[in-house]
Amino acid sequence: MFDTALTAADFAFLARGAGMTIVVTLISVIAGTILGIVFGVFRYQVGPIWAAPLTFVLDVFRSIPLLIQLVLANAFLGTILRLNMSGFTVACIILSLYTAAFCAEIVRGGIEAVPMTTRRAARSLGMTWGQDMRSIVLPLATRVALPSWIGLALGVMKDSALVYIVQVTELLKSTQILITRLQEPLLLLMICGAFYFVISFPLARFGGYLEKRWSND
């Protein structure tokens, strides 16, 4: 059972792949969340008619499979615009927009969950729109949105496996390379799964901890 050709160097190779998965996920989740907040607030604030073009673009990013987006974006940026971008840059841009499209919905839902009466009360106390957003909407909406956001972040981490198509060697691609060479798919996939678990478990637990802490007061 434990007779394997896997060497320490191969294990380091897998770890480098895992590192790439973490880097791509971190960049995309951070950029995607910032963009998502901007888009979400904008959509809520200007109303459905004025936000229609943005809504349409976000719907496109939400409904087209990520794999297709990556291939098309890579072909468009590389062959038509002739920008000499690395696969890593293309992967981060597309994954960020993909995250932003989902995050905008989560943010909008969070804002809508804050009772209108509470916000009116804030404004009648003389708070400005900015103060209302910061002190009333932000704390209440965050609590509502957090579980979905954690789900989104974990989802993006696993979706990042698709960036192999633009020549980024992340965790799953590293595993496939080793499977081709060593012909030990079961062992390697188990190790790969363990890596994914190690990456996502702390995030999931951190989310659970925040939820618990915020719900008691």
Partner: protein, 270 residues
Amino acid sequence: MKQTTLGLGLLAATAAMAAPSYADKLDDIIASGTLRCAVVLDFPPMGMRDDSNNPIGFDVDYCNDLAAALGVTAEIVETPFPERIPALMSGRVDVGVASTSDTLERAKTVGMSIPYYAFENAVVANEGVEMATWEDMKGKTVGATAGTYEAIWLEKQITEWGEGTFRPYQTQADVFLALSQGQLDATVSTVEVANANVASGNFPGIKIVDKAPMVPDYVSLFTLREEYGLINYLNLFVNQQVRTGRYAELYEKWIGEGEPADLTIPGVYR
């Protein structure tokens, strides 16, 4: 007056259309400083990975040589067999150095260079059997994997000679096992498989006798079919590889001892 205006307008329109100077793919590759090659990396000895997971093999070296000739750095883009042409069409690679057979069907989509390699077939025999050429298989017990090109060819030869026996097997490993144990006198397989099996030591008592006179599987480099500048360059590059002896050198490095396949076809141009 009206005609002059129209004429001037047409002239201006023609000039506007002709104006954007067109840099072809060959220029683009040299300008970008990188040559991206599609290579199949699960096809030893043409493409595979070494112990530290770096791409190696005949095709990898061939891509590196091409990049060196162009004065750029090579980037090996791993593509599975069915992904080779899509990778080119979607702009992920510049050329394919991927052991691609130059079929007429593929040539409808991509531009093929002259063949840069050919997969030949070898006659492999048990060491206890006296054999010098492929024709010595006459009257012997031969076998191959059922249904393959080699099996069909062998069976046809046996019928033609009117003596000897043909035995079909399920897998190639079974064929070599039978050959090693002496149940078979000889078989036919690709030179690459034959060399690898002899070198592996898993099948003691077998030897390569001769090349089988079957039509080789010619493989070509490929790029976008409208890139004549690049295709011309690729053709000359293949020619130079053979002329300078690099082709034979790579053959010896990756496939083994012996004469590499003749890349010309007697009796026809190109």
